[in-house]
Subunit: 566 residues, 2 copies
């Protein structure tokens, strides 16, 4: 395995062996190690000193269900700190098959202002002109790239959001069906790619060139045991394949933590119109597809292809977070409207969480009436066109709040809170507050725990292991779906890693890796200027009770500050 390094200023391409100190890390942990080693912590995130890294998780490349995720990382222009954003699609697998432990993008933009495509195959890597693709949405970008390079490639690309340096811009990866829709969504890494004038990366490796496995039997046994649990687990065997992540709508609404009308309530009176069940039935009636896989080999297939009223594909995937932030959070109960908003965001290549949250903030000053879907679509068109208002909204909730003079802004470290109100699920709130990544449910979601979610007691103890686990999983390439099975049998992760690498990791390997990852991330943030003052839920959520549970966020600061001690 090698590290590929490409410099957009000098056009230099360099392959090197993986440094000794990087070998124990993949995915998210490698992002953190890389940032500490190579990126000046106080650098301008959209300037030439920032770098981007693509790092598959340590277990990627074997087409093991839900274990092929790619991490993209860099210093975030949204939070100003560490940022890792992982996604499905085929990028991680193709990179592993190309023998790449990581890809690092440096420098840029080219002195002549031109835009580039990075093409990588087994023979090497080279920069090519991207001229005709500049300004194109991701649908057309994907079509042109597969036309040009064939249909067996992997792609990471940015849309107009990244080109325009929107701080909600992500990096989009292609799925197994050539949809360029799997988003490393959060923290503005698409803007970093745009700042370097890199429009797309082609990973051309059709051959299933699996990375070496030191102990095949051990790896195979653990894989089999894992898949068996995955198939039998009620969540991954039945619920997610049927409803996808949208199945969360009813649960979160029942808990009382479903963001509603800019986080003013935790229950949405029309939740049943946008629930996983409702969308499932509507979509199937129209000929849409349930159980669509974003990664080859996935047996859960939590994704969907949502069809519009005309019986044609409207968007893929329609996920819970989008439904929460662009649906209930805006008082919108029409799945078609949410799907159309999602489609615009996908084509722009931007985070639906931060964009939905920004629209919620805009509603506070009357730019949108809650529930007015047509107006929300007009605002999304502004985002698409890049009008001043579109730029305000396209830069995420934190900036929108500052420009529009709104203080009821749902962000931590400048990143929008996802679709679990921290007052209604305080363990997740602790995760939002203390994760080095900024507010992000994927860093340690606690909603499935059988506890009183509004009681502040014990919520740091609930969040901490969840965060450590996710720090580990995100470093291995494991999807949230896979964590259901790995959680049932904790021996499987060490078994897989030991089989793959010939290591001798202990049973607590996952948590140790997660802790190490988070400590590196916190160290980068510290050097970038973060302090305990940044590990806080927004002040207004500590005083404004969430209807109907009448709960404020009241986990004590001292507990938050001690979460990663010891």
């Amino acid at each position: 395995m090698q590290i590929l390094r490409v410099n957009l200023t000098t056009n230099a391409v360099l392959y090197k062996d993986v440094p000794e100190s990087w070998r124990a890390y993949g995915g998210r942990a490698l992002v953190a190690r890389f940032l500490l080693d190579e990126v000046p912590p106080t650098c301008e995130p959209l300037g030439p000193r920032n770098k981007l890294i693509w790092a598959p998780g340590l277990l990627v490349g074997h087409m093991l269900s839900s274990v092929d995720r790619i991490s993209v990382g860099g210093k975030s222009p949204l939070t100003g700190g560490v940022k890792e954003a992982n996604a499905g699609g085929t990028t991680g697998m193709k990179m592993a098959w190309l023998g790449l432990h990581a890809l690092i993008i440096e420098g840029g933009p080219p002195a002549d202002g031109s835009w580039k495509i990075l093409y990588i195959d087994a023979e090497g890597a080279r920069l090519e002109p991207a001229g005709d693709l500049v300004g194109l949405g991701l649908k057309e970008t994907g079509e042109r790239l597969t036309e040009r390079y064939g249909s067996k490639i992997g792609i990471s690309a940015i849309g107009p959001a990244g080109e325009r340096l929107y701080r909600s811009a992500g990096v989009t990866h292609m799925d197994a069906d050539l949809n360029l829709t799997r988003l490393s969504a959060r923290g503005g890494l698409g803007a970093v790619m745009g700042s370097k004038h890199l429009k797309a990366i082609i990973f051309d490796q059709p051959r299933a060139n699996r990375p070496p496995v030191v102990d095949e039997q051990r790896f195979k046994d653990a894989s089999r045991a894992y898949l068996k649990i995955l198939r039998e687990h009620p969540q991954t065997g039945q619920i997610y394949p049927t409803y996808g992540t949208a199945g969360m709508v009813e649960l979160c609404n029942a808990v009382g933590a479903l963001p509603t009308r800019n986080f003013s309530a935790g229950r949405f009176e029309a939740a049943d119109r946008i629930s996983g069940e409702a969308i499932h039935d509507l979509n199937l009636a129209r000929g849409g597809q349930i159980a669509h896989a974003c990664m080859p080999g996935c047996i859960i297939k939590c994704s969907n292809i949502y069809f519009g009223p005309d019986g044609k594909p409207l968007v893929t995937p329609l996920e819970y977070e989008t439904i929460g932030l662009m649906g209930s959070n805006l008082g919108i109960d029409d799945p078609d409207v949410i799907a159309r908003m999602n489609d615009i965001a996908n084509d722009m290549g931007m985070d639906t969480i931060d964009t939905g949250a920004a629209l919620g903030v805009a509603a506070e000053v009357g730019l949108l009436a809650f529930g007015d879907g047509e107006r929300a679509l007009v605002l999304m068109e502004e985002v698409k066109t890049g009008t001043p208002l579109g730029r305000i909204l396209g830069n995420g909730a934190a900036l929108a709040g500052q420009v529009l003079g709104v203080t009821r802004v749902p962000v931590v470290k400048g990143q929008a809170i996802s679709a679990y109100d921290p007052r209604g699920t305080k363990g997740t709130g602790v995760t939002y507050a203390t994760s080095p990544q900024g507010a992000d449910h994927t860093n340690g979601l606690t909603i499935r725990a059988d506890v009183d979610h509004t009681d502040p007691k014990g919520k740091v103890e609930l969040s901490r292991p969840a965060q450590l686990n996710m720090g580990g999983y995100d470093s291995l390439g494991v999807c949230l779906m896979g964590t259901f099975a790995f959680g049932v049998d904790p021996t499987l992760i060490p078994e897989l890693v030991n089989g793959r690498y010939g290591w001798d990791m202990e049973p607590d390997y996952l948590q140790q890796l997660g802790l190490e990852c988070i400590r590196m991330e916190r160290e980068f943030n510290r050097r970038a200027g973060f302090t305990a003052a940044d590990d806080r839920i927004p002040e207004w959520m500590t005083v404004e009770p969430l209807s109907p549970l009448n709960s404020v966020f009241d986990v004590p600061d001292e507990e938050l500050d001690a979460i990663f001690d010891g």
Copy 2:
């Protein structure tokens, strides 16, 4: 002397004796002490937990030339840290005559969303409805208030910028001629006032009720000696009375530090068209007024009333910083255009420095062609109207850069650099970087020092005493103009203070007070989450040479970090 405390939520008005621990402080130092004592450092600056303070300097109230300044302070919505913004006008004097050591505004906005006027006279204080004034510019606000309350009042008020929570909004004070144009400009304190729905404060005390002076003779002797030097000093005796602060244009251009086209050059080819000399001649030819005093008793009268081509008053005052940021920084060489932009900003009640810098940033993405004055006026009209683009620009350079995707943004701690490029005058650059207030020339300007301003050596040693002095002067109510005379005879400040209060301060009192002030400010910032990473000149200014001197900002970080040690 008393502290008056007014709560906008409860309507409570409370007079109390000055706490023992506050008596040694006035103006800027009192702002810092107050913030440490009363304002939660991580609070939302535009939320109910932030507070505002009006604090005259310790020597205010005696109509001593250039020693009657008022400090307004609070947590800044622009920088997120400590903010003190002082100004001339009659507010400080009227407060001292009312026996007020400080006025503190708490809570707000009123539950019914109404806007208030705070009326204070010798009998007490009360909140009155401001209904008809909401939305009005400061000219009309001033007219209506003097109509209602008579012409012998002092006023502090906000314009539409403060009402709309623009982060460049200041608090405007009335001058001796009833112009509501003296601005506590920087850091968005007008937005804090707006967040509390306080439109104006009336200080109704026509009687020259001088604060007690313990040793009248000592105070009088020092005053006389001070005035003599002030009259005889070439700067305050001749240059400033003749050209006002605009006299700085030629000097700064000669040094090579005049911001030109968004800080891409330090010399402006048309500097002679916007210089103090040019404006002096033009203005006089039109019947305008040179040597206008902003404070009663001032013998320097560095202000002016700039007349337009129609022979009528266009704006007052037209200051150097405005000429630098709205003139050369935008490539604009027509004083009338600058004056019209200034007039809009004055009527809105907003900082011309951050607004001019925001327009320079907008020019980087083609929203304005450098030199296109008519387009600049159109943009100022957008700011006035409050369009989305106007909001982007009205929130200052830092936010404008983030929303517009520009990285060549001249800010420190989120506050725009004033009209001395830190690469061309590195001592001032050190001040920008390390002042707890954010980039601000008034916190320690070094351009008059006889040194090589592009040599990084010795610039921390140059900035430090300048910052300490200003920390002291700003706590005493001394105008920048007064510092020329006090600099000539350092015994005068302790003499005045000792005479006024019966204290026994040592010769180094000014610097000790300044150091104490800055240390309190840094402590507040530390608690608010600031670190050494915030004490930096923008990265791009450390790599992009300033034409024509070919200088980058290269004072070592370690020197910056040690400036207030020892």
